[in-house]
Symmetry: C2
């Protein structure tokens, strides 16, 4: 079975000659050209492509599952661990979910072309902003092959061409999915360069992708922290990313105790491995003796290990001592750091010093302090009286999520279709000139 997804003769020749840089340039050029055509594509045509991809995937289940079996067999030979193999594995159920995902993206409103703030100026010109595609988006991700289709569908819906670089473990699966994508694009009359799956697992491909500003407008890395750090360090193209989710819940002295308990337990135990899971709990000294013992009892039921400051340990003898490293740890595990603070100032200062500007919550019934926390905590999501676990594109109503950004420029927080677009100024005149 050929795993080449290249449609371009030059690209194919470069790849066969082992010239990864030239291959990536060919992909970039094709993407840039496709981006010009996608700017012209209307919502109906983009949706037809998405539905066609779903139909093609449905018809190609056997081939896709066979390719996935190849990847799984190779993964087992290479000693991949069970969690990784699970993320790599496709099934009829997972293919159903991928098809459903395509239909959902097709049903979302098209963000492109929206014109806002159109106002007349004293000169007589009318000025506003038009939402337009970013252009070409590069996505670098790891083992899950369903990301291939998810990323392709979101980029396409927002009018962007994309270059997708999946994990080498999923090479055959991604190639099979890529064929369905190509067929769907063809069915709708969109250029093959609209979605290109990198057909080599050579790591040089990533290096080339992140240093082609002429061909790629933004890179979105999805995966482990070390991958993202490396990409952010070496990229010559803007990167939309988040590195850490060191999220806090701060229980203020005027918190409703029932809400505080429910939120603190949910934020930690709902899922351990997600970036919006609470990693450090801050509790006002005034209510620590009231709340911590009951909280500790509930955490014990979930087998969560507690690590506390000295004051916490005085109340909870079962807590291990927290070191300075614990305050900035993203455990992604049933472990929780607990610190008792004097007031909101100390809580905000702690979050500013140790947090990762991802998601932080306060539990309080105090109106003025709720407002202060919202205004002053410099995180991509700031939450009052709800679990940090809500910081998510679906829960926020974005309809889809391609990632979360903790950067301040462009997209901040969960990134949906709108984050894959930009706004330009449009001016409508009737012959005006500057005096």
């Amino acid at each position: 079975m050929s795993v080449s997804t290249s449609f371009d003769a030059d690209a194919k020749l470069s790849l066969e000659a082992g010239d990864v840089a030239a291959y990536m340039q060919s992909l970039g050029k094709a993407a840039r050209q496709a981006a010009g055509e996608l700017r012209r594509a209307d919502s109906g045509q983009k949706n037809r492509a998405l539905y066609a991809m779903a139909a093609r995937l449905d018809a190609a289940r056997t081939e896709v599952l066979a390719a996935n079996s190849e990847d799984l067999a190779r993964g087992q030979q290479n000693g991949l661990d069970a969690a990784l193999l699970d993320r790599l594995a496709l099934s009829d159920g997972r293919i159903d979910a991928m098809i459903e995902g395509l239909n959902q993206v097709a049903a979302l409103p098209d963000p492109v072309g929206e014109i806002s703030d159109m106002r007349y100026r004293p000169s007589g010109i009318q000025v506003g902003k038009m939402r337009v595609p970013l252009g070409v988006i590069g996505i670098i991700y790891e083992s899950r092959p369903n990301v291939t289709l998810e990323a392709a569908s979101l980029c396409l819906k927002a009018g962007n061409a994309c270059v997708l670089r999946g994990g080498s473990e999923a090479h055959a699966s991604n190639a099979a999915i890529s064929r369905c994508i190509q067929e769907g694009l063809g069915d709708a009359g969109l250029p093959a360069g609209s979605v290109q799956v990198v057909a080599t697992s050579d790591r040089e491909a990533v290096g080339a992708m992140i240093t082609m500003p002429d061909y790629i407008d933004v890179i979105i890395p999805r995966g482990g922290k070390s991958l993202i750090e490396r990409i952010a360090r070496e990229a010559k193209v803007p990167v939309i990313k988040h590195l850490d989710g060191v999220c806090h819940v701060y229980i203020h002295s005027l918190a409703d105790p029932a809400k505080a308990l429910a939120i603190a337990v949910n934020a930690k135990t709902h899922r351990y491995g997600t970036c919006n899971t609470m990693e450090t709990l801050l509790v006002d000294a005034a209510v620590a003796d009231l709340l911590l013992p009951e909280l500790a009892r509930q955490y014990a039921e979930h087998e969560v290990e507690l690590r506390g400051c000295e004051q916490t340990q005085a109340l909870l003898p079962q807590a291990l001592p927290a070191s300075d490293d614990d305050w900035s740890a993203e455990y992604l595990a049933p472990i929780l750091a607990i610190k008792i603070v004097g007031d909101i100032d100390e809580a905000i200062a702690h979050i500013e010093r140790y947090g990762s500007h991802h998601t932080d919550a306060i539990v309080t019934e105090d109106y003025s302090l709720a407002r202060r926390f919202m205004a002053e905590v410099d995180s991509s999501s700031v939450i009052v009286n709800a679990s940090t676990r809500f910081a998510d594109g679906f829960e926020y109503g974005l309809g889809a999520e391609i990632g979360i950004s903790t950067d301040k420029l462009h997209a901040r927080g969960p990134v949906g279709l709108e984050g894959l677009t930009t706004q330009k100024y449009v001016v409508m005149g009737s012959g005006q000139v500057r005096e």
Copy 2:
């Protein structure tokens, strides 16, 4: 006279010891801390600081003009050309304009704190976006000392701390203005770290500024292309910039001839040195013989040199031949490149290939093609039937402009107060947890 504007003892010591890197770190730390306090400052307090700066500058005219005389004398000794000396020079009139600028910025609406799109979700949480300061902004600029006050006032109004690095030629002037700024901040009870003027002309200071992501959130360079290119290449901090303004006017065959002539003349001759000045005129072949001779006559009155494609030269024997370099030239001078094109597709393709994504205009009475041009030309400003010279923060109604961005992420086009802010998600709940 001491030109040190340092208020921080560590910073002063580092500077005296010649340790520019340590000095810049001290400035960065003070800025980061001030940014935390500025997030808390309300509109009234920020405006009081702006009015106080205006009063302090008014009271310090003698000192500021004396410092400026020093700079001018040194500039003359160093053989600065007349244009540069003019940009460097302050006068009572220019100080009046600076004071007026401060009052205008104070009168602008505060962008910070605006909450938008607040909607209930099925889970019961209410989710929206809050506009907040970016944090710390670094601005690197050249000779004009009035930029010091202009940049400081815009950053402060948007709730940001800033580190300002002006040109070495304006060192004494900037130090004198910096003292007025510091006094104004003090009068309003805002921290001195809110606005810091770099007190050394060592070029290492720029290198340090653009590589301190912990302390500076975004860099805005203002100045010549080579300065901006160097900064963009070496920065480890996001940069809001534009490099070139290769702006086009495309006269379509269905253009109103009177509008076409007025716009094409104005876009070129209103001012030659600005980035939104037209550098290349594209004319549909169908109307070239009708319009070009009259246009050439009007350009001749302004002594504009014409460089044309072969078809243009056939109609205008006075036009010099245009080389491929002319299509991407930003002349900033009374020179114009003219190309005759077959249709809108050729015009858009030319703009995509040779343009700088800054500002491009079409003149046409055709409804469908006006819409196509607006949607498909991938520039920060796209204009129908008006001069490219309107691409400007004041003309667009932003109230002020700190620069123009031709990048696609974050700010695009003229950047006003809003471009100096970001949006974070805010969630208001009543005890919700994820199921």
